[in-house]
């Protein structure tokens, strides 16, 4: 996706080979069309591309000739046929002969691609951003030439004002984006190369070439320097922003990029666009729901779709609690922490029954639905194109409209039925021995006194001594029968939230697996079997 955008809009020349074509078949030409808005003055001028503008409606649709208050946009088409010769042109149905685009024309789109390993931008080589930044001052060429001469003579590059100024500028940009700066950026001579050229002068940080800095700092410095060379409204392509960065620097870099855009917006300047790919939930969480686009590739046809949320609001809780689920191919939304923790625990046991494959290998993920928001979340995910299912207990009834909406969106809902919540489903299906094991686990987690006290208040006729003993003996002295006792324990467990915690829920999983295995006809077992089957589908 980023490659396509870059090939279409960058001023660079691209060479293409067979593997760039679908199925390596050059009979199918590569065609990339990119429509760009927020056009700069230079692009909109009638001496350049102004008469080829098209209209972008307020409803977000494209029409060939603008009307009313459509935003002026330009559509660039890159075509590569079997000759491998790329051709750039403007799409405009109103003119018979398409307007070819030169590399100078394309440079006006202001595209920047951050490719982390590119040391080119950290030196003053020909066409480098540093050289361009230096050109901002007058007589730059002469000064650069003077710099080379001076470099030969003394190698005291720091004394050359134009280079030192640019280095200081680069340092400021880089620091702004969160690059670690050890001392100060300065121009330095890179030894060990044959001959002296502009590329021999590179940025140094306290004497160490910046190209030897850590990957993250190198990438941030490169991005900062590249971005600063574009006056306004740059289109920035960033591959895997998180690459080489600690979480706090991911957050810092994204926050700064967003702040830059907010500032431009406030000053009514072009904001540009940042296209960023990521596999980091930290980056995703910081980017925010409104910035989210989901790229999904259908196989084997390899048709790739980009989905955007109809409304970002339902996704916000997911972005906050479990952004990582968005990286999955199919998502199971769990209503509460008990269910979530329980399934996360149970999934450890599943590979054994599925040829050793964990659900993650199939791209399936289990996500926190944050209670009542689970159904709106599931609907939003389905809307983004994810196969989505929901797992919930049955103590509350879903509104009829919600049930209909979920059905319409193709979201299966897995629940125990019979009005059972998870605690009831577990306890009612459990044998005496397993109820006892569950109580032992609850005591481990919540403390003997708490659990015993909770139970004693609910069932005063048992007495604390008996409660401390084996559950199998309770029915001997109680007015309640086995079933009623289980219901009472479940009711206390739910009300007192013994298991409503992700970690505790996870610890509960081995016991739940045993309960289900021992009672395969129970609602608990059948529901969990459905969940497991869906995740492995």
């Amino acid at each position: 996706m980023l490659d396509a955008a870059e090939a279409a809009l960058s001023s660079r020349w691209f060479s293409f080979t067979e593997p760039d074509f679908l199925n390596c078949d050059t009979a199918n030409s590569i065609v990339i069309e990119v429509t760009v808005g927020e056009l700069s003055r230079a692009l909109k001028s009638d001496e350049r591309l102004g008469l080829y503008i098209r209209g972008w409606t307020t409803a977000g649709e494209l029409r060939d000739e603008p009307v009313d208050d459509d935003e002026p946009v330009l559509t660039v088409r890159l075509t590569v046929d079997a000759t491998m010769e790329p051709a750039w042109e403007l799409v405009c149905d109103r003119v018979e002969d398409p307007r070819p685009l030169s590399n100078r024309d394309r440079a006006f789109f202001g595209l920047v691609r951050l490719a982390g390993e590119d040391a080119r931008h950290l030196a003053w080589g020909q066409g480098s951003v540093l050289a361009r930044l230096t050109s901002d001052s007058k007589e730059a060429a002469a000064r650069l030439a003077e710099a080379y001469r001076a470099a030969r003579a003394s190698a005291k590059l720091g004394e050359i004002e134009s280079l030192a100024d640019t280095a200081a500028l680069a340092e400021r940009f880089a620091k702004g984006l969160g690059a670690y700066v050890e001392g100060a950026y300065e121009p330095g001579l890179e030894l060990g190369r044959s001959g002296l050229s502009s590329g021999s002068i590179a940025l140094h940080d306290s004497g160490v070439p910046l190209r030897l800095a850590g990957l993250g700092t190198r990438r941030l410095a490169t991005l900062a320097i590249q971005k600063s060379a574009i006056a306004e409204g740059a289109i920035v392509l960033i591959d895997e922003i998180e690459h080489g960065l600690e979480p706090h620097r991911i957050i810092g870099a994204i926050a700064l990029l967003k702040a830059d855009q907010a500032k431009a917006l406030e000053q009514r300047k072009p904001t540009g666009q940042i296209l960023m790919t990521t596999h980091s939930d930290v980056a995703l969480g910081e980017a925010g729901a409104e910035s989210l686009r989901v790229v999904q590739t259908a196989r084997p046809g390899r048709a790739t779709l980009i989905g955007r949320p109809n409304s970002p609001d339902p996704l916000r809780p997911l972005m906050r609690f479990m952004p990582r689920a968005l990286f999955a191919r199919r998502i199971l939304v769990c209503e509460g922490n008990t269910e979530l923790g329980m399934l996360l625990g149970l999934r450890k046991g599943w590979p054994a029954c599925h040829g050793g494959r964990p659900i993650e290998q199939l791209g399936a993920a289990i996500a926190d639905g944050n209670g009542e928001q689970a159904s709106s979340l599931a609907l939003a995910l389905a809307g983004l194109g994810y196969p989505t299912a929901m797992f919930r207990d049955s103590d509350t009834v879903l509104a009829q409209s919600t049930v209909a909406a979920l059905a319409a969106a193709g979201v299966p809902v897995f629940e125990y039925g019979f009005g059972l919540n998870t605690e009831q489903a577990i306890f009612t299906a459990a044998s005496d021995e397993l109820v006892q094991a569950l109580l032992v686990y609850a005591r481990e987690e919540r403390g003997d006194a708490v659990v015993d006290d909770n139970l004693n208040i609910r069932m005063p006729d048992l007495g604390v001594e008996l409660i401390r003993g084996d559950f199998g003996n309770w029915s001997l002295l109680s007015e309640l029968n086995d079933t009623q006792l289980r219901e009472a324990v479940a009711e206390v467990a739910a009300r007192k939230k013994w298991f409503k915690d992700q970690r505790i829920g996870r610890g509960l999983a081995p016991l739940v697996a045993r309960v289900a295995a021992a009672n395969v006809a129970s609602p608990l077992a059948t529901t969990l079997a459905q969940v497991e089957a869906w995740l492995y589908a």
């Binding site: 009638d46 001496e47 102004g50 080829y52 603008p66 009307v67 208050d69 109103r94 003119v95």
Partner: protein, 465 residues
């Protein structure tokens, strides 16, 4: 009168520029001040004049776009045909031209197109505003709502009233383009004949008020004459005076007759529409046989040459007879194929006849070029060939003959060292804009102005301004 820098800061405004007061210069200077300016004028000749001035002043090509109003409208209307609904191809009828201007104005209501205009220019300057009609004025108002627009013109040179250029300066123009001032320095006469410039300026004032003009003024040469074809006025001093000459008369037909009477001493120039050329081309294309083709050729030669016939009993000029025979020999070939090859030779032989004097050189030259185009196979028909020739002409600019006879309409915007008005009283017979026509005629002169008239005092109806 504000200077160029002040004009640049004014926003929408109008500058009145009497003839010869350095209008083109100030337009060029204002245009050079911004990032990129658009200069609009009416004719290709005007575009050439402005471009060459910009070049002379060393103003960068990228800094100023120069176009005709029609050309600019064609560009924008065809770039956005959905909203502008332009007529197909080049407009032919008045209604089609009107649609073009209207459509371009409609396009300027679309926000995105307004952004294109705003991004393209930071200043718009419109020249010869007195020649604008209502729809062009509406276009100018639409443009001025996007980019600060300065208009330049002279109410006294508004001689296109017959073509609908009847905007009232006070009533229609100044409400949108407030008067910034009137150019005051008569550059055209500086170092040549400042007294003449002074007389023309005074006469301009009188003409505006509809007052009588005394032609017997030492600053001009007055010839009392009853004869509109007084060759004495045309040729007085041509042997001693240096520079270019123009004789000016409002009537096109009289201009051709004057040219014919002057026996090639003055050349008539052709209108942009080139009706006579087109007439020849369509007669040629219609011709079913060689005979009709020869007729088309002969009819054109009658309109271009003064042909002397030997007086009775006089022996024919032997040299002329030789060329005549050569032409006769070509007549059978004219029926061969498309006949263009033969007629092309006839065109060139006609110039060589000692007894024939060419007085519409431009017409003859264009017709000859058109036949060459057909002969070389670059055009299918004579009509297509004339279009090519005229198109090339309008894009390359015309070279004026040393001595020209023509109308104020065709000579407007040009200047000549010596101007002759063969008959001043005829301006009073013009139905529209008589005072303006007279002003345009006299203000062409830079060194001498000769006015022949049956009356010493002439008076014209006060102009509509």
């Amino acid at each position: 009168m504000p200077n160029a820098a002040e004009l640049f800061g004014l926003g929408n405004a109008a500058v009145v520029a009497p003839a010869g007061h350095g209008k083109t210069e100030i337009i060029a200077n204002v245009a050079a001040m911004g990032r990129r300016a658009l200069i609009l004028t009416h004719t290709h000749a005007g575009v050439h004049a402005i471009r060459s001035r910009l070049k002379r002043l060393g103003i960068l090509h990228a800094q100023v776009a120069v176009d005709t109003i029609a050309g600019w409208c064609m560009r924008y209307a065809h770039a956005f045909p959905g909203v502008a609904q332009p007529p197909d191809g080049m407009p032919q009828t008045g209604a089609q031209w009107n649609q073009l201007y209207r459509g371009a104005t409609w396009a300027l209501r679309v926000q995105a197109i307004r952004e294109v205009v705003a991004s393209s220019y930071d200043r718009i300057l419109i020249d010869e505003y007195q020649d604008c009609h209502g729809l062009q004025h509406e276009l100018a108002i639409a443009l001025s709502s996007i980019v600060p627009t300065l208009i330049f013109g002279d109410p006294m040179q508004g001689i296109f009233e017959f073509a609908g250029a009847t905007l009232s300066w006070d009533g229609e123009i100044h409400p949108s383009f407030p008067l910034a001032g009137t150019l005051e320095t008569p550059h055209r006469w500086a170092g040549k004949n400042p007294e003449l410039g002074q007389w023309i300026a005074e006469t301009r004032e009188k003409l505006m008020r509809g007052e009588a003009i005394d032609l017997a003024d030492p600053r001009v040469t007055y010839r009392e004459s009853d004869d509109a074809f007084d060759m004495g006025a045309l040729f007085e001093g041509t042997d001693v005076k240096e520079g270019s000459f123009a004789a000016i008369h409002c009537n096109k037909t009289i201009c051709y007759r004057l040219a014919k009477a002057a026996n090639g001493g003055y050349q008539a120039i052709e209108e942009v529409a080139a009706n006579r050329l087109r007439e020849f081309a369509s007669a040629w294309d219609r011709a079913a046989d060689g005979r009709s083709r020869v007729q088309a050729f002969l009819a054109l030669s009658e309109d271009c040459f003064h042909k002397k016939t030997p007086a009775g009993g006089e022996a024919p000029d032997p040299e002329d007879s030789v060329v005549q025979q050569a032409m006769r020999d070509l007549i059978p070939d004219i029926d061969e194929g498309n006949g263009a090859e033969a007629v092309s030779q006839l065109f060139s032989l006609a110039r060589k006849r000692p007894q024939w004097r060419l007085y519409r050189n431009e017409l003859w030259r264009d017709a000859e070029r058109a036949t060459n185009e057909v002969a070389a196979g670059r055009a299918e028909t004579m009509t297509a060939a004339t279009l090519r020739v005229r198109y090339r002409m309008s894009n390359s600019g015309r070279k004026m003959p040393k001595r020209t006879v023509s109308t104020p309409l065709l000579l407007k915007g040009l200047e000549f060292d010596h101007v002759v008005i063969p008959d001043a009283t005829h301006f009073g017979n013009e139905r529209q804009a008589q005072a303006k026509l007279f002003y345009v005629a006299i203000s062409r002169a830079t060194r001498t102005l000769t006015i022949a008239s049956s009356q010493r005092f002439v008076q014209f109806t006060a102009p509509d301004l």
